[in-house]
């Protein structure tokens, strides 16, 4: 099936010389790099093939009827209008199939909801239109926004060819960095409107909702760079707040974390001073008001 589709797609691609050079023609869900994403992919394929088999049976019957019982070929209509036996059969069998699908789905879901024993917690806050990452108890926090070259190219009538921008719309200035093989717990919230955090290769998507903290977890098996996007309409630039996660070996991650902490120290000190000043100002204002 998918081979035929690929050939068909290739045929169409050949007719479109402009795009053929960049053809991706991806047809299916990615397997991903976490246990959850592979389970989800397996479930997806299971349901897909069940649907294909049912479709072959049902569509086969329809096509058979359309071809065989044609008025123009002199077909004479029978006159039956029900069959209790058939109706019971085609009510019971689907229920059995559904049970067969529900069991693995429930198993995977239970695994997805098991947040215990995480090794690293990161608080992710959605803003219009960027992400903020805070490594809890690690004193590391930063914003992550769309890379400048993508941002320039995506302006209306920019004249910049998106195909020439590396990772167009899927690149950020400060990616999230996590260690390979660690169970990472993401705590999600938002400051303005609802956003959704989604990296397809990790298999998980969850809404970031103001006033709520949602959680999801992943454990990436392979180092690499994984890209995703905001998946809940959040206003004008909803399409321009990508997510990039760099998965590093533990040692490299530790080094990265250290460098971030070092860089953050002077900045944090300044921020603290600013906060104090702000409070002072507020106090003065209040005093004046009184």
């Amino acid at each position: 099936m998918s081979k035929i589709l690929k050939y068909a797609a290739g045929g169409i691609a050949a007719c479109l010389p402009v795009t053929a050079a960049f053809a991706a023609w991806q047809l299916n869900m990615t397997k991903g790099v976490t246990e959850l994403s592979r389970d989800i992919h397996g479930l997806h394929m299971l349901v897909f093939w069940i649907c294909v088999i049912i479709a072959m049976a049902v569509f086969g019957m329809m096509i058979y009827s359309i071809v065989k019982f044609r008025h123009s070929q002199g077909a004479v209509a029978a006159n039956f209008d029900h069959s209790t036996k058939a109706e019971v059969i085609w009510t019971i069998i689907p229920i059995a199939i559904l049970v067969g699908m529900a069991v693995p789905a429930a198993e995977t879901l239970i695994k997805i909801e098991d947040m215990r024993d995480s090794q690293l917690s990161i608080k992710v806050t959605g803003y219009q239109w960027k992400w903020h990452y805070e490594y809890l108890d690690k004193n590391v926090a930063f914003f992550s926004t769309l890379a400048r070259d993508s941002d320039a190219a995506r302006q209306l009538g920019s004249g910049i060819d998106p195909f020439k921008v590396p990772n167009y719309l899927l690149e950020v200035d400060h990616p999230l960095v996590v260690p390979v093989g660690a169970k990472v717990r993401i705590l999600l919230t938002a400051s303005d409107v609802i956003h959704a955090w989604w990296v397809p290769a990790f298999g998980m998507k969850k809404d970031a909702i103001p006033g709520f903290v949602n959680e999801l977890w992943f454990r990436a098996d392979e180092p690499g760079t994984y890209r995703g996007q905001c998946a809940e309409l959040c206003g004008r630039d909803h399409g321009f707040m990508p997510i990039v996660v760099v998965v590093k070996p533990q040692a490299e991650y530790d080094a990265w974390l250290k460098s971030q902490q070092d860089a953050a120290k002077p900045a944090a000190a300044t921020a603290a001073t600013l906060d104090v000043n702000k409070n002072d100002e507020a106090a003065t204002l209040l005093a004046r008001a009184e």
Binding site: H44, V76, E113, Q155, P162, I209, G211, Q229, E232
Partner: protein, 537 residues
């Protein structure tokens, strides 16, 4: 009840019929503005819906033109969001729902053997609200800040960021809801009180049955939508905090309330199409509908289940495990009665004697393509997989498969089936065949690749995308332009059938076996349809 129906019809005949027979419908604009005749109101509903279909469709063309290539070429992202929002609102509330109400207005009295709808003045009111509602909605495109851009689902807090368009959107939705509720009440009252003697509930045509159930769904859920949007309004202007976290409110609560309306709404848009298809397939298979009782019970089961599955639209909001499991299982269960319907339609064709007039072609296309939408719906019901599919183009592909080759093709099948009955003229079968083939081919070119885009990871509601999605988007856009252009043919066929053509017989489909009271009347039917109630054996 039966006696009173006879009396009613007899009474109408004696005291009023003479007046009406003398002067017929009012002349000029008065016929339409003061309309109380079910056929005139039905015609207005259908033409209004056709107009909205083209307005909503041209917004879809803007969307697909912008998505033809990566990069922003045509519109600002904010305007793009307005287009997706308005496209949905107009297609749902302006095109699909009024089309079904128009079909109900025309066909319910004809199919139950009544002279008119039960509440003709309310009928007039429920139609005439709509042009005002949509004028208000469309005029938001010209107010400061532009039209609503938070999606047709109107999720707070995002929707509260809209400017002047926000209250206009809310009041437009209120008006549409009021119109729908009145239309639904009219259908229920007509079906319950004005059936011809001898037509027991289980002798009603399936189109009447599906509309009866749809009308109950409408009466049940439209007030819920009205409540939800009113709370949005007070959150914005009267400092309530129903949905604002900062004031102790809950943004997710809106989604629960909205989808408690929204999921039955999905069935409101498909059940009457089931009814239409259940009329057409037996006619052109020259064989009675297989499993009539099962079809009625399946429709009722789908309607019942539609009230307990709403949260499958929001699996990613973070629900307890038990909640997710419940909504997954309940959703999967819907495929059982839906499957029964598909099997019964197939069994109706089995050992029949099939011919392929335009209504049958559209019904068959419905059968195949709606089933594909059903399959993707089953896939979406699996919560873990939904975490990947949610808010991607896979969802867009799914609901367009059930709404375009589903609901819209159902409407087109119905129009091609009954148009000669309405106008008294046959339309060009050749053009209608062209319209069918173009629509069916292009609708697949348009929506099938969107499954691939969603699975490859393209979120929905984005005006621009990374280059890996470029190829399928271009194919999809080509399909969209083709589909959009094909619909001009539909409008032409309808208008030319209104203007003239070969005279249609009473039975219209003489070579086939159409059943039902509507075929016992002349084409077009007399102004007061059944002045004397027919006897149903």
């Amino acid at each position: 009840m039966r006696t009173s129906t006879i009396n009613h019809a007899g009474h109408g005949h004696d005291s009023h019929a003479a007046d009406h027979d003398d002067h017929g419908p009012a002349k000029g604009w008065r016929r339409w503005v003061y309309a109380t005749n079910h056929k005139d109101i039905g015609t207005m509903y259908l033409l209004f819906s056709l107009l909205m279909f083209f307005i909503g469709g041209s917004m879809a063309m803007v969307i697909r033109a912008e998505l033809f290539q990566p990069g922003l070429q045509l519109v600002d992202p904010g305007f793009f969001n307005t287009m997706t929002t308005m496209h949905a609102l107009i297609m749902i509330f302006g095109a699909v729902m009024p089309a079904f109400v128009g079909l109900a207005n025309w066909m319910v009295p004809l199919q139950v053997g009544a002279p008119d709808m039960a509440l003709p003045r309310m009928n007039n009111f429920s139609f005439w609200i709509l042009p005002f509602a949509f004028t208000m909605l469309l005029s938001t495109l010209f107010v400061p800040g532009g039209g609503p851009s938070g999606g047709w689902t109107m999720y707070p807090p995002l929707v509260l960021q809209n400017g002047t368009s926000f209250p206009m959107l809310i009041f437009a939705v209120h008006l549409m809801g009021a119109s729908s509720i009145m239309g639904a009440i009219n259908v229920v009252v007509t079906i319950m009180n004005m059936r011809a003697p001898g037509m027991s509930l289980l002798k009603m045509p399936l189109f009447v049955w599906t509309w009866l159930i749809t009308a109950y769904l409408l009466v049940a859920v439209m007030p819920v939508l009205a409540g939800a949007v009113t709370m949005l309004l007070t959150d914005h202007y009267f400092h309530t905090s129903f949905f604002q976290a900062a004031g102790g409110g809950d943004p997710v609560m809106f989604q629960h309330i909205f989808w408690f309306f929204g999921h039955p709404e999905v069935y409101i848009m498909i059940l009457p199409a089931f009814g239409i298809v259940s009329e057409i397939i037996p006619t052109f298979s020259r064989k009675p509908l297989f499993g009539y009782d099962a079809m009625v019970y399946a429709t009722a089961s789908i309607a019942f289940l539609s009230f307990i599955v709403w949260a499958h639209h929001m699996f990613t909001v973070g629900m307890p495990l038990a909640g997710q499991l419940f909504f997954m299982l309940a959703t999967m269960l819907i495929s059982v009665p839906t499957g029964v319907k598909v099997f019964n339609w197939t069994a109706t064709m089995f050992k029949g004697s099939l011919s392929f007039e335009p209504p049958m072609l559209f019904a068959l296309s419905f059968l195949f393509l709606f089933t594909i939408g059903g399959f993707s719906g089953l896939m979406l019901a699996m919560v873990p997989a939904d975490f990947q599919y949610h808010d991607t183009y896979f969802v867009v592909a799914h609901f367009h498969y059930v709404l375009v080759p589903g609901a819209v093709f159902g409407i087109m099948a119905g129009v091609y089936y009954w148009l000669p009955k309405w106008t008294g003229h046959m339309y060009s079968m050749k053009l209608a065949n062209w319209h069918f083939w173009m629509s069916t081919i292009f609708v697949n070119v348009l929506f099938f690749p969107q499954h691939f885009l969603g699975l490859a990871g393209m979120p929905r509601r984005i005006p621009d995308y990374s280059t890996q999605f470029a190829d399928w988007n271009m194919i999809s856009s080509i399909g969209a332009f083709g589909f959009g252009l094909s619909q001009l043919l539909f409008a032409y066929i309808i208008l030319s059938s209104i203007r003239g053509g070969v005279k249609a017989t009473d039975k219209v489909w003489d070579g086939a076996t159409p059943h039902g009271l509507e075929w016992t009347l002349s084409s077009p039917p007399p102004y007061h349809s059944f002045e004397i109630a027919p006897d149903v054996k």
